[in-house]
């Protein structure tokens, strides 16, 4: 038997081992475990603010770690930092490339980042000496579009790309610290763990992967989705992973039991999930869909308990503020809305 054939057999055998091992720990289902808990009552959120100013589709938004500022990116070629309370624009940053697909706010509030079809992640310093916001670094080495970026600190950022890899960058030197390879399809989204020690990525290979930031290892590969995983986020306890897919479902996986716990689906929902965010306690899962709506799910009971209908086009991004006080949605209709 050739070496290649031997390796293939070993791979198949290991995959079977993983399936069996997971089954061995599936002593119940989440559904059974919470059977005695009541579904939360209907959640009705209202639009409290509408952020107007972008002139084209909004592709991404990210809340700052402070309570009221957020950044949004639009294919009108602008990154806008908003004060959501007053709806004022704190900064309107013109971009070199208007084909932006993602943006991020550093936890410190000092930096924002964005990237897209230029294959680069551009870092901007909001607190420059002369008050002007300038490009601080251009992180270039991905060979595909930048789908998502998230700061680990002011000196490190993680990016995900259409080239199927994620990269941890040293912002100071503008170089790659670690390349996370393993996905077999475009990486679409990433999320950093609450303790900043690991991150998760969702890709067009229908899987989600969990990575250790320091040693570069992929520790878990979670499958089950039947199409591209567009959106991903940690459950607030740091052990659960939420994913949203073009297969019209969201899923909750648990890292410690290394398997899917539940699927959020409904026969009437037939369009892809574009974005998701859990509420502060994790009990609510807010997910944006291609049909212009956001569905609110009881994350434990997997029942729909609310809908946010207010956009006139696809909801492309969603986020919950750091104190859980509000949810922000961004849409192809060029508006952002703040709800609670």
């Amino acid at each position: 038997m050739g070496e290649m054939e031997q390796l293939r057999k070993e791979a198949e055998s290991l995959k079977d081992q993983i399936i069996v091992a997971r089954k061995g720990f599936a002593d119940t289902t989440l559904q059974e475990a919470v059977a005695g808990t009541a579904v939360v009552s209907r959640v009705q959120l209202k639009t409290r603010k509408t952020l107007r100013g972008h002139l084209a589709k909004i592709y991404a938004m990210h809340w700052g770690a402070g309570l009221t500022q957020c950044v949004s990116a639009s294919q009108d070629g602008k990154l806008i930092v908003w004060d959501t309370l007053s709806t004022n624009k704190v900064n309107a940053i013109p971009l070199k490339s208007s084909w932006v697909m993602t943006c991020a706010y550093a936890p410190s509030g000092n930096l924002v980042a964005c990237g897209g079809l230029d294959n680069m992640c551009s870092i901007y310093n909001l607190k420059g000496k002369d008050g002007n916001v300038k490009v601080m670094r251009e992180l270039a080495s991905h060979t595909g579009y930048l789908s998502c970026c998230r700061f680990v600190s002011d000196s490190e950022i993680i990016t995900s790309s259409g080239d199927c890899t994620c990269i941890l960058w040293d912002i100071e030197t503008g170089t790659e610290k670690t390349i996370f390879a393993g996905h077999l399809g475009d990486c679409m989204s990433l999320g950093v763990a609450p303790d900043f020690k690991s991150f998760i990525s969702g890709a067009c290979d229908y899987t989600a992967k969990h990575w250790d930031i320091r040693d570069g290892n992929c520790t878990h590969t979670l499958s089950g989705h039947e199409s591209d995983v567009n959106a991903i986020g940690f459950f607030p306890n740091g052990n659960g992973i939420l994913t949203g897919s073009d297969d019209a479902t969201c899923k909750l996986y648990d890292l410690r039991s290394d398997q899917e716990l539940i699927t959020y689906q409904d026969a009437t929902i037939m369009c892809g999930v574009t974005s998701l965010a859990p509420s502060l306690s994790g009990r609510l899962l807010l997910a944006g869909y291609d049909d212009f709506n956001v569905n609110i799910w009881d994350a434990l009971k997997a029942e729909r308990v609310g809908v946010l209908a207010g956009h006139d086009n696809r909801v492309s991004c969603i986020g919950v503020s750091s104190d859980g006080m509000a949810c922000c949605t961004g849409s192809w209709d060029s508006f952002l809305k703040i709800w609670n």
Partner: protein
């Protein structure tokens, strides 16, 4: 040579699968219980879940009545 690089790639895949097969796992009952406990413990601090009264909602300032 594509043959050699395929072999290298396949070895990496097998190595990764070995790693993923060997991780320690926890029972779903434990994972589910922890998730539920986390939700319960933080439920009262979750404004989107509990609702926010207009007096404590920073996004909905109370209308102030003033004498003209």
């Amino acid at each position: 040579m594509s043959g050699a690089s395929n072999l290298v790639a396949m070895k990496k895949i097998v190595q990764q699968l070995r790693f993923e097969a060997s991780i320690n796992r926890v029972k779903v009952s434990q994972a589910a219980a922890d998730l539920q406990q986390f939700c319960m413990q933080n439920a009262l601090q979750d404004p989107l879940l509990t609702g926010v009264s207009s007096s404590t909602n920073p996004f909905r300032p109370q209308k102030v009545c003033s004498f003209l």
